[in-house]
C-alpha cells in the first residue's frame, strides 16, 4: 500500500494562538496514531464506520466541546469556538477521518443556542463527552437541501406535534440516538428533537461513496413528538440558516484539509517519479498545472477561513460568504483531486492507492449541504436578483 508521509501543512487559520496550536497538534497526533489510512480502510466493513470508544477519545480532546458554553460542560479556546473547531475539521480532512463531526456539532450548537434548559441538560453533557450522538435531519429526496421546499411536516396534535415525511440522506442517522428534525408547519419552519427509536421512525442505512461516512434514509410516519421537543420559540428559519452556515464552514475546512494533503503528496510524487530521465516535476507543462492547483488550493484556504470567521462572528454577510466558500471549494476541490489523480498516472485509479479515499470525501462534501450550483442560486438571491 502507498502510505502517505506525515507532512506539515498550512492550516485554515494562519495565525493561531498557543492554545489553538496545541489543540491542533493534539488532534493531529491522535489521528496519526489512532486513525491511520489503513485503519480507515479497515472500517469500510464496519456498519457504523467508526469505533465509539475512539469517538469518545476524540470528544475528550475537545472535538464536541467547542460550540457548547462552559456552563453546559463545553468550552472553547479562543472565545470563538467555530474558529477552534475548524482546526479539527481540517485535520480530519487531512486524514479522511471517520466520525460524525459536522452533524454532532451542528446539533450541539443549535441546542446550546436555542434549546430549553431540559433539552440542554438531556443532550449537551452526553454530546460533549462523546457518549451520545446526534444528527441533523434536513435534506429530503425531493427538495434536497432547499429549506424553502421541505415536505416533512409537523402538525399540531394534542399537547404536541405529529411528524410525517422522509429525510435523506441523513449522516450517521443509524448511529445517533437523537435527531434534530427540520420540518414545515403552517407558520414556517420548526425544529424538533426526536429520539431515533421513537415510534414511527424507520431508519434505513444507505450505501455510499465514502468508505466510512454513513448516511441513512429516515422515515417519519405519524411520529408523536411532545411540545417540549421543539427547539426554540417561534419560527426556526434563522436557526436553520445558522446551522447551515456552521455545517458548511466545517465541511469546507474538512475539504481544504483533504485537498491540502492530496496536493502535498502529489507534489512529492512528481518530484520522485522520473520519465525520459527527468523528474516529472521538471516539465513546465506540469509545473504550470501545479501552479494553477496551488492557486486554487490557496484560494480554497482563504475562502474557507473567511466563511469560518463570518459564521463564527455572526456577521451580516455570513450567508453570502459561506455560500461563496461552498460554491468555490465544492467544485474546485474535486477538480484538484481529479487533476492529482491524473498526475499519478495509472496508480491513481487503483484501489490500492489512497488518493481515492480523498476523492470520495471531497465529492461527498461537494454535494451535501447544497451543491455549488445551489449556493450560487442562493448568492443570486442575496444579490437581489
Amino acid at each position: 500500500m502507498h502510505s502517505l508521509a506525515f507532512t506539515e501543512g498550512d492550516n485554515v487559520e494562519l495565525a493561531l494562538t498557543d492554545d489553538q496550536e496545541l489543540f491542533r497538534a493534539t488532534t493531529r497526533q491522535f489521528l496519526a496514531a489512532k486513525c491511520t489510512l489503513a485503519e480507515v480502510r479497515a472500517l469500510e466493513l464496519n456498519p457504523d464506520g467508526f469505533d465509539p470508544a475512539w469517538w469518545r477519545h476524540g470528544a475528550a480532546l475537545g472535538w464536541t466541546s467547542m460550540l457548547v458554553p462552559e456552563a453546559d460542560g463545553g468550552g472553547c479556546l479562543s472565545g470563538n469556538g467555530l474558529l477552534d473547531l475548524v482546526l479539527v475539521a481540517e485535520e480530519m480532512g487531512r486524514m479522511v477521518s471517520p466520525g460524525p463531526l459536522v452533524p454532532t456539532n451542528v446539533v450541539a450548537d443549535a441546542v446550546a443556542r436555542s434549546g430549553s434548559p431540559d433539552q440542554r441538560a438531556a443532550l449537551l453533557p452526553g454530546l460533549v463527552a462523546g457518549d451520545i450522538l446526534a444528527t441533523w435531519a434536513i435534506a429530503e429526496p425531493g427538495s434536497r437541501w432547499n429549506t424553502s421546499r421541505l415536505s416533512t411536516v409537523a402538525r399540531p396534535s394534542g399537547d404536541g406535534f405529529v411528524l410525517d415525511g422522509t429525510k435523506s440522506p441523513v449522516e450517521a442517522a443509524a448511529q445517533a440516538q437523537h435527531m434534530l428534525v427540520t420540518a414545515r408547519t403552517d407558520a414556517g419552519l420548526m425544529q424538533l428533537l426526536v429520539p431515533s427509536d421513537a415510534e414511527g421512525v424507520t431508519i434505513t442505512p444507505l450505501e455510499g461513496l465514502d468508505l466510512v461516512r454513513r448516511f441513512a434514509e429516515v422515515r417519519f410516519e405519524g411520529v408523536e413528538v411532545p411540545a417540549s421537543a421543539v427547539v426554540g420559540a417561534g419560527r426556526a428559519e434563522a436557526d436553520v440558516e445558522r446551522q447551515l452556515q456552521v455545517a458548511v464552514s466545517l465541511q469546507c475546512a474538512e475539504t481544504v484539509g483533504a485537498i491540502d494533503r492530496v496536493f502535498d503528496m502529489t507534489l512529492d510524487y512528481v518530484d520522485n517519479r522520473h520519465s525520459f530521465g527527468r523528474p516529472l516535476s521538471s516539465y513546465q507543462a506540469l509545473k504550470h498545472r501545479f501552479a494553477d492547483m496551488k492557486l486554487w488550493l490557496e484560494a480554497c484556504h482563504g475562502t474557507a477561513t473567511a466563511a469560518a470567521r463570518a459564521t463564527g462572528r455572526g456577521t451580516d454577510d455570513a450567508a453570502e460568504v459561506v455560500s461563496t466558500a461552498k460554491s468555490y471549494i465544492g467544485s474546485r476541490a474535486t477538480e484538484i483531486v481529479q487533476d492529482c489523480v491524473q498526475m499519478h498516472g495509472g496508480i491513481g485509479v487503483t484501489w490500492e492507492h489512497d488518493i481515492h479515499l480523498y476523492l470520495r470525501r471531497v465529492t461527498v462534501n461537494r454535494t451535501t449541504y447544497g451543491t455549488p450550483a445551489d449556493h450560487r442560486e442562493q448568492i443570486a438571491v442575496l444579490l437581489g436578483l
Partner: protein, 418 residues
C-alpha cells in the same frame, strides 16, 4: 495626530469622520480609461490625505508616514470605499515604487522622495520592460555607463503606466556586460522630464492611452540615484516585483483606500446591472453566471487576505504574491467572458451615447488579456509559483551562467525621429 498606539477602532472612527468632511464621494463610475485630467485630480486628493494626517498609514513616521499597522490601513480602506481616492497614487507610486524605496532606498533617497510622494507631489512609474523582451526582465539591454559622478543612460523602456504625466521612475539598466545577466544590472532613480528622454504614448485596443514607451539618449543620472548596490539591481527589481504582484492582487499595505485593480474590496456590480438591464434577472442560467462572477471577486479578496496575512507573519514566502496576481488576472478574464455571454449581441452593437452596461462590457472585451499580460504574464506567474513557492526545478536557460555580452538578444531598439 500620529500616534503609534492609537487603537484600530479609534483610528477607524477618526478616519470615518474625517473622510465624511474632507473627501468627495464617488459620483457614478470613474472611467477606467485614464485621462490626464484625472491624474492632476489625484495629486490633489493625495494632498488632502496628507493635510488630513491620513497619508502613508503604513509608511515609516520618519519619512512622513504614520507608522501604523496593516490593521489600521485596512480599517481606513474599509471606511474610504464610498469616497474618491487617489487610485493611481496607490498603484504604482505608493504600493510598488515607494514600497521598494522603503525597503532598499538610502536614508537620503527616502528623505528626499517619500514625503514628497505622500504629499502628492511626485508620481512614480517603473521603467522595467523593454521592447526587446517583455517577460525576460533580467535580459535588459538598456545600458548605463559610469562617467565620473554620473551614469549615462541609453536605450528604451516600454509599458510604463502614465509616464508622460509622472515625475520619477525606477529604471533597471545594464551596468556590467562581463558577468551573467542577473549580476550586471543596476536600479536607478530617474527624473522623467529632462533632456535626452522622449516619452511616447501607446494606444491600446480598449482606447486607453495609459502606457508609454521611453527613449533614452545620453541621459545623465547622478551616482547617488542608485537604489541598492551597483550591479545589484536584480535584487531591487525582485523586491519591486513582489510589491507589484501584491499590489495588483489588492493586498498591499501601502495604499490609501482601494486600488484600481482591487475592486474586490467593493465587489463590482456590473454583472448584476447587466442581468437586470437585459431583462434576464429571472433566468436561472444567467443567475448562475452572475453568482459565479461574484464568487470569483469575493474569493479573490479572501485569497488576498490570506496571502497578505501569511506574508506579514512569515508563514508564506513573498513570491506568493504571484498567487494573488494570477487569481486576479484569471478572474478578470472569466468575468469578461461571463459579461459577454450574458450581454449577447448587446455587447457588440449599441445605441449611440447609451449608458447601457453591455456597451462597457463590449468596449472592454478586446482588452481582456491586459490583466494577464501586465505586471508579468500569467505564464511568468506560474513559473514563479512553481519554482519559488512550490520549489519545483527551474527551467533551463541558455543565458544564466556566461557573461551577458555573449548572450543572444533581440534587436536593440532604435529611437524614432522626433
Amino acid at each position: 495626530m500620529k500616534n503609534d498606539f492609537e487603537d484600530v477602532e479609534s483610528f477607524r472612527r477618526r478616519a470615518r469622520a474625517w473622510l465624511a468632511l474632507s473627501m468627495p464621494r464617488v459620483q457614478g463610475e470613474i472611467d477606467p480609461l485614464w485621462d490626464d485630467g484625472r491624474r492632476q485630480r489625484e495629486r490633489e486628493l493625495q494632498r488632502k490625505l496628507w493635510d488630513g494626517g491620513f497619508a502613508g498609514i503604513c509608511f515609516p513616521a520618519e519619512y512622513g508616514g504614520l507608522g501604523l499597522s496593516i490593521d489600521h490601513q485596512r480599517a481606513f480602506t474599509g471606511e474610504s470605499l464610498p469616497y474618491e481616492m487617489p487610485f493611481s497614487f496607490n498603484v504604482p507610486t505608493l504600493s510598488i515604487l515607494a514600497a521598494t524605496l522603503v525597503d532598499l532606498g538610502t536614508h537620503e533617497q527616502k528623505r528626499r522622495h517619500l514625503p514628497a510622494i505622500l504629499r502628492g507631489e511626485e508620481m512614480w512609474v517603473q521603467f522595467l520592460s523593454e521592447p526587446s523582451g517583455g517577460s525576460d526582465l533580467a535580459g535588459s539591454i538598456t545600458r548605463a555607463d559610469r562617467d565620473g559622478d554620473v551614469w549615462i543612460l541609453n536605450g528604451s523602456k516600454i509599458w510604463s503606466s502614465s509616464a508622460h504625466v509622472s515625475d520619477y521612475a525606477m529604471c533597471l539598466a545594464r551596468t556590467n556586460w562581463d558577468v551573467p545577466k542577473h549580476r550586471g544590472l543596476t536600479m536607478f532613480i530617474v527624473k522623467i522630464h529632462q533632456p535626452g528622454i522622449q516619452v511616447d504614448q501607446i494606444k491600446q485596443v480598449n482606447g486607453s492611452m495609459e502606457f508609454c514607451q521611453e527613449f533614452f539618449t545620453d541621459v545623465a543620472v547622478p551616482a547617488d540615484n542608485v537604489v541598492g548596490e551597483v550591479d545589484g539591481g536584480w535584487e531591487v527589481a525582485s523586491r519591486l516585483l513582489n510589491h507589484e504582484r501584491h499590489a495588483v492582487g489588492g493586498g498591499s499595505p501601502y495604499t490609501s483606500g482601494r486600488t484600481v485593480a482591487g475592486e474586490s474590496l467593493r465587489p463590482d456590480r456590473n454583472l448584476i446591472r447587466l442581468a437586470q438591464q437585459t431583462g434576464q434577472a429571472g433566468d436561472g442560467r444567467v443567475r448562475q453566471m452572475v453568482a459565479e462572477g461574484h464568487v470569483l471577486q469575493l474569493v479573490s479578496s479572501h485569497l488576498a487576505t490570506r496571502i497578505t496575512e501569511g506574508i506579514s507573519s512569515g508563514n508564506i514566502v513573498p513570491a506568493a504574491g504571484s498567487l494573488t496576481k494570477l487569481f486576479h488576472a484569471t478572474m478578470f478574464a472569466q468575468r469578461a467572458e461571463i459579461g459577454v455571454e450574458i450581454a449577447g449581441s448587446d455587447a457588440v452593437a449599441w445605441p449611440v451615447g447609451g449608458a447601457h452596461e453591455a456597451r462597457q462590457i463590449g468596449r472592454m472585451y478586446p482588452g481582456r488579456q491586459t490583466m494577464s499580460l501586465g505586471g508579468g504574464s500569467n505564464e511568468m506567474q506560474r513559473n514563479i509559483i512553481a519554482e519559488r513557492v512550490l520549489g519545483m526545478p527551474r527551467e533551463w536557460a541558455a543565458d544564466r551562467d556566461g557573461p551577458f555580452r555573449d548572450v543572444r538578444t533581440n534587436t536593440s531598439p532604435s529611437r524614432p525621429n522626433g
